[in-house]
């Protein structure tokens, strides 16, 4: 039996605001527990929510970047349930009149090439607090610092057909939202969370199977692993003659397995209704248009432009635009005068390595451009330039040439010096000289190597060959 997998993803991203969604507490990370709280996010009697304008603006921009229709009027709703990390006993979210609907994300599926996933909706809501289960014996500890943090929930259509495809979608979704400046989108830091829905059906059929929900994945790789495990579990279940139950499962990164949660609660009845503490959110059409007009260049558009403007290969353009910062850096280096192709190689090489390690671009773009110029002019070899680069990473705002000089890496192009080394080499290898003159022209490489050795790498290889050619005549 051939099975088709149907996957939909719900992604929660933390909006990059300074303060919480409904109160003026700062967004912090790592503060002592329950120190960043106020009557509103503590859910004290008499407290009331007031929405954060910047959270709305970022959510709108995220929705527009995902091609959604932003609705001029949307409504906050209460999602009612009891849990210790939920101070009010309800979460303020949006239900039947969300901020945005009907978008799509284009991305490269590893299975099906270029494709589109529909975005059903994007809405805003507040985050809950944090629970720690293992800190105290027989108790759960509650920290409400995070309660009230602004989130955007992005729901995809169930258009994904494999765990690998789901991962690729997530990568592109994240990329778009980071480009748009909406969220840091870091699963490690908790500013991006994924809940997945998966069902199976016989290949070629259209009726949806019972879907399960998979949670607790802390990286895109683990999303893929978890969905692989769940798909396998469902297939095994059905092939053994059982039915798939609508359950929630948690992924265990250590074992790679998914397990149903222990709580046997029936599916929640959230009793949504419009929050009477919050009048409708009304956005002026002109303002929405302005947000769309002021979106930064998004990944797809940037990739296409870089490919065209700088004659980059499709692959190179894709790599460079994977991160907004990387693409921006690349363009800065080119703007500072460096050759695009060479800049691209540097950016995809050394610069990307540094960025992956440190999360930043310590070497100012113009300095890298200068360094590239030094290589072009033969002042340093490419190998030497890498060492200069490493030096610049340590102490960024140095003149690259001065650094190269200090490190003794400046190549010698002086004709006299080169001639001197060439003479020494030719004198030391008369046999090879004779053979060369008799036609073994491939010995040129040998001579160049010897000159490099004799000069301890300082000779400019480009200048050595003409001198040799002249003297070997």
């Amino acid at each position: 039996m051939a099975w088709e997998t149907v996957i939909g993803l719900e992604v929660h991203v933390q909006l990059r605001t300074r303060t919480k969604m409904f109160c003026g507490n700062r967004i912090t990370f790592g503060d002592p527990p329950n120190t960043n709280v106020c009557p509103v996010c503590l859910g004290l009697p008499g407290a009331l929510p007031v929405p954060n304008a910047e959270a709305i603006r970022l959510a709108v921009r995220g929705a527009l970047a995902l091609g959604c229709t932003v609705h001029e009027t949307s409504v906050f709703a209460r999602k009612n349930y009891f849990y210790p990390d939920l101070p009010k006993g309800y979460q303020i979210s949006q239900f039947d009149r969300p901020l945005a609907t009907g978008g799509s994300v284009s991305f490269d599926s590893p299975d099906r090439g270029r494709m589109q996933v529909g975005i059903t909706r994007l809405h805003v809501e507040e985050d809950a607090g944090k629970l720690l289960h293992d800190r105290f014996r027989a108790k759960t500890a509650v920290d409400l610092n995070r309660a009230g943090t602004p989130l955007a929930e992005i729901v995809s259509e169930p258009d994904l057909r494999s765990p690998a495809e789901a991962r690729a979608y997530l990568t592109t979704l994240r990329q778009i939202l980071v480009y748009a400046g909406v969220s840091e989108c870091s699963m490690e830091q908790g500013s991006l969370r994924v809940d997945a829905n998966l069902s199976i059906r016989p290949a070629g059929t259209t009726r949806l199977g019972t879907k399960t929900e998979v949670k607790n994945m802390n990286s895109f790789a683990n999303v893929e692993r978890a969905l692989e495990a769940e798909r396998a579990r469902q297939i095994a279940l059905v092939e053994a003659g059982h039915r798939v139950e609508q359950v929630t499962l948690l992924f265990n990164a250590a074992t790679g397995q998914v397990k149903p949660t222990r709580s046997k609660e029936e599916s929640h009845d959230y009793r949504y209704f419009p929050d009477p503490d919050l009048p409708p959110l009304v956005l002026a059409p002109a303002w929405i248009t302005e947000q769309r007009a002021t979106l930064p260049e998004l990944p797809e558009a940037k990739r296409a432009r870089l490919e065209a403007a700088y004659a980059l290969s499709a692959q190179d353009a894709r790599v460079i635009t994977a991160e907004a910062g990387l693409a921006h850096y690349f363009e800065s280096v080119v703007d500072a005068g460096a050759d695009p192709k060479i800049s691209a190689n540097w950016v995809m090489g050394e610069v990307m390595t540094t960025y992956n390690e440190s999360g930043s671009f310590p070497v100012p773009a113009r300095r890298l451009a200068e360094l590239i110029g030094l290589v072009r002019d033969g002042v340093v070899s490419h190998q030497a330039a890498k060492r200069v680069y490493a030096e610049l990473v340590q102490s960024p705002d140095q003149d690259p040439k001065a650094a190269a000089t200090r490190l003794g890496l400046v190549q010698v192009s002086d004709q006299g010096a080169l001639a001197g080394w060439v003479d020494e080499v030719l004198a030391a290898h008369p046999g090879e000289v004779a053979r060369f003159r008799e036609g073994e022209t491939k010995l040129m490489a040998f001579f160049v190597g010897q000159v490099m050795k004799r000069s301890r790498g300082k000779a400019d290889p480009k200048g050595v060959q003409p001198v040799l050619t002249e003297k070997l005549r």
């Binding site: 507490n25 629970l131 759960t140 509650v142 920290d143 009048p279």
Partner: protein, 99 residues
Amino acid sequence: MSIGLDEVLHVAKLAELAVNENEILRLVDQMNRIVNYVAKLDEVPGDRTAEPFLAGPKAVMLREDVEVTVPLARPPSAIAPEFLEGFFLVPRHGAMEDQ
């Protein structure tokens, strides 16, 4: 429209309200009385398209994204039923560890 015992118990569970045995039947009776009374609204012709009533402003006012620390006259530890090392404490329940 009549509410049965099971339904009242289900609603009590949703609302996290313990209902003790001696009062449950009276509660069912009272709830039925109330619900039958409010069902009077069925007399009013329905209008699916009507907008719900807004008592206050027609559009929500938004707050600037600036930090405003509301000073708490007493810290969470002063009002919490159980508080240790900066955390509110509740009994642990197996089902909750999974989240």
